[in-house]
C-alpha cells in the first residue's frame, strides 16, 4: 500500500512537484469551473482553451519552451478573445455563445496558420498536452501565484459574482458591478487555463476545471459545499491520475482528467441528485 500510494511521491522530486502543482491547480480552477457551469458557460471554458493555444504556441515558436513567453502569449490571446466575445455579447444583440465561437475560431485558425508557417516541432506537443511530470520551479511559482490571485479575487467579488449569476438584472438595478464582474470572471477563466497548460496542456486544462464541477453538481444543492466538493474531487483526481501515470507508464495529463471523468460518471449514477436516487425516491413521498 505504501509502495503504491506514498513511495512515488516520497522517492521522486518530479512527482512531488507534479503533486503540488496539480493540487494548487485544483484549488484554483475547480471553483472557477463551478461558476462556469452554473452560468451555463461550460463550453466557454473549452473555447477559451482553444483560444489560448495560438498565443502559447507563438510564445513557444519565438522563444522556445520557456514558461514566461508562452504564458504571456496565452494570456494575451485569451484576454483578447474573452474581452472581444464578452463585449460583443454585452453591447450587441448577439449572445455570448455565438460571439465566443466566432472569436475562438478566428484565434485558433490564426494559431494554426502561424505554427504551419514557422514549422512544427515535437516539443509543441508539450504545449498541447502538457508536462505535469516536468514542472520546474518557475512553473510551480506561476501556478502558486495564479492560485493566490484566483482565491483572493473570488473572495473579494464573491457577493457580486453570486448576484450576477442568480439575478443579473437585480444587480444592475442596485450597482454598477454587473459588467465589470463578468469580465473579471472571464479573466480568471483565462488565468486558470493558462496556469493549467503547463501541467495539462491547453486542451486538457479545461478538464480539471469542468469535470469536478460537473460531478459536484450531482451531490449538493448549496453553492459553498458544491465548491468544496469540486476542489476535493479535483484533488483526488490529481493524486489518482499521477499514481496511475507512474505505475502504468501512462501520460499524466490524460490520466488526471480521466480520473475526474470516472468520478463524474459515478456521480451521475450514484450522486444524491443522480439517476439512482431520483428514480428510486421518485415514488416514495411524504404527506406534505
Amino acid at each position: 500500500m505504501y509502495d503504491f500510494l506514498i513511495a512515488p511521491f516520497a522517492d521522486f522530486a518530479f512527482m512531488r512537484s507534479a503533486l503540488y502543482g496539480s493540487l494548487a491547480l485544483a484549488l484554483s480552477s475547480c471553483p472557477v469551473g463551478v461558476f462556469l457551469m452554473l452560468r451555463r458557460m461550460s463550453l466557454t471554458g473549452d473555447a477559451m482553451a482553444h483560444a489560448i493555444l495560438p498565443g502559447a504556441a507563438t510564445g513557444f515558436l519565438l522563444f522556445g519552451l520557456q514558461i514566461v513567453p508562452m504564458t504571456i502569449g496565452g494570456l494575451i490571446a485569451g484576454v483578447v478573445v474573452a474581452l472581444g466575445a464578452g463585449a460583443v455579447s454585452r453591447f450587441t444583440i448577439q449572445k455570448e455563445d455565438a460571439s465566443m465561437a466566432a472569436f475562438y475560431l478566428i484565434s485558433l485558425a490564426l494559431g494554426v496558420l502561424m505554427v504551419s508557417v514557422r514549422g512544427s516541432s515535437v516539443d509543441l506537443m508539450h504545449v498541447l498536452f502538457g508536462t505535469v511530470l516536468a514542472l520546474n520551479n518557475d512553473a510551480l511559482t506561476l501556478i502558486g501565484v495564479i492560485t493566490a490571485i484566483t482565491l483572493f479575487t473570488l473572495a473579494i467579488f464573491w457577493r457580486a459574482l453570486v448576484a450576477e449569476c442568480l439575478d443579473p438584472l437585480f444587480l444592475r438595478s442596485v450597482s454598477r458591478f454587473g459588467t465589470p464582474v463578468h469580465f473579471i470572471f472571464l479573466a480568471l477563466v483565462v488565468l486558470n487555463l493558462v496556469g493549467g497548460f503547463q501541467a495539462l496542456g491547453t486542451l486538457l486544462s479545461v478538464g480539471l476545471m469542468m469535470l469536478p464541477a460537473a460531478a459536484a453538481r450531482f451531490w449538493t444543492v448549496r453553492l459553498e459545499p458544491m465548491i468544496a466538493l469540486a476542489i476535493l474531487i479535483g484533488a483526488v483526481s490529481c493524486v489518482a491520475g499521477l499514481l496511475i501515470s507512474y505505475h502504468f507508464s501512462l501520460p499524466s495529463g490524460p490520466a488526471i482528467i480521466l480520473s475526474a471523468g470516472v468520478i463524474y460518471l459515478a456521480s451521475i449514477v450514484a450522486g444524491t441528485r443522480g439517476i439512482l436516487n431520483s428514480r428510486v425516491r421518485h415514488h416514495r413521498h411524504r404527506t406534505a
Binding site: L166, D167, L169, L171, S173, R222
Partner: protein, 285 residues
Amino acid sequence: MTEASLTFRDLTLGYFSHPAVHHLNGSVARGSLTAIVGPNGSGKSTLMKGIVGVLEPMSGEVQHNDGARVAYLPQQSEIDRSFPARVVDLVSLGLWPKRGLLGRFTAEDRASVSKALMAVGMEGFEGRPIDTLSGGQLQRALFARVLVQDADLILLDEPFNAVDAKTVGDLIALIKRWHGESRTVMVVVHDLDLVRTHFPETLLLARQPVAWGETRETLRPENLLKARRFNEAWSDDAPWCEAPETAAHAHPHRHDGRDHHDHDHHDHHHHDGPAEHLHAGSGKA
C-alpha cells in the same frame, strides 16, 4: 405642491431609434402611490427601466432625489432558478444597497431578512432551494427582498401576474404599508378594478401619457378609449420627430401621430429646459 420624488424632463426612452416612451414631462410626488396602466407595448416597463437606470434615455432625463434608494421588481425577472441558492440567499440580495460588496451581514441584517419573510407569509421557507418554489411563492420572496431593500422609491412591474387572489391581497397590503410609510410607490397594473380600489393616482400611458393624475379622473371612459386606439406597431419609414426649440442642433423629431425617433446615443446635446411637447395631461402637480 408637494416635494417631488421623481421628475421627468422631456424623457424619451426606446429601442433602435423607435421611442417606447415619448417626451414624458411631469413629476411624481414623494410618498405617492401611483398605478401605471396602458395597453401592451405602451411603454410601462420601459419607463420603469428608465427610472431605475438600466436603460439610458434617448433624450431628456429622469431626475431623482439625491441619495434616494430605488427598489425595482421587474416583470420578467432574470433570476436563474436553477442556481443553487436558498430563499434566504435570494432575499439577502436586498441587503446590497446597505452592505455593498464587502460589508458583513450583521445579526440585525439577518433579523430583517427573517422579518421580511414573515411579512410575506413565508416563514419557514428560509432554507428552501429557490428551484422548489412555486410562481406565487417566488413572487412573495421577491417582495420580501424589496422589503429588505428599505427603498425610498419602489417600482413594481406587473407584480400580480400569475398570482392567486389571496397572494394579491397580501401583496396589496404590503404596498399599502409602504405607502403608509411615506415611500413613493409606482406599480404597473392591468386590473383596472384593482387600480380604482387601491391606487390614489394613475398614469395612463400609450407611448405618451394619455392622462395622469387622480385615478378616477384618469380612468374616465374617453381616456381609456384614447389609450385603446393607440397603435402599438412601429414603422421603419416613420418620419423623424423634430424638437422645434433646438433647431440648431436638433434631434430630428417629426410628429405625425405615430412618433418615431432616430436619436443618436452618442449625441450629447440635450433639450434644455421644458420642451414644447406637452401632451394632454402630461403635467402633474
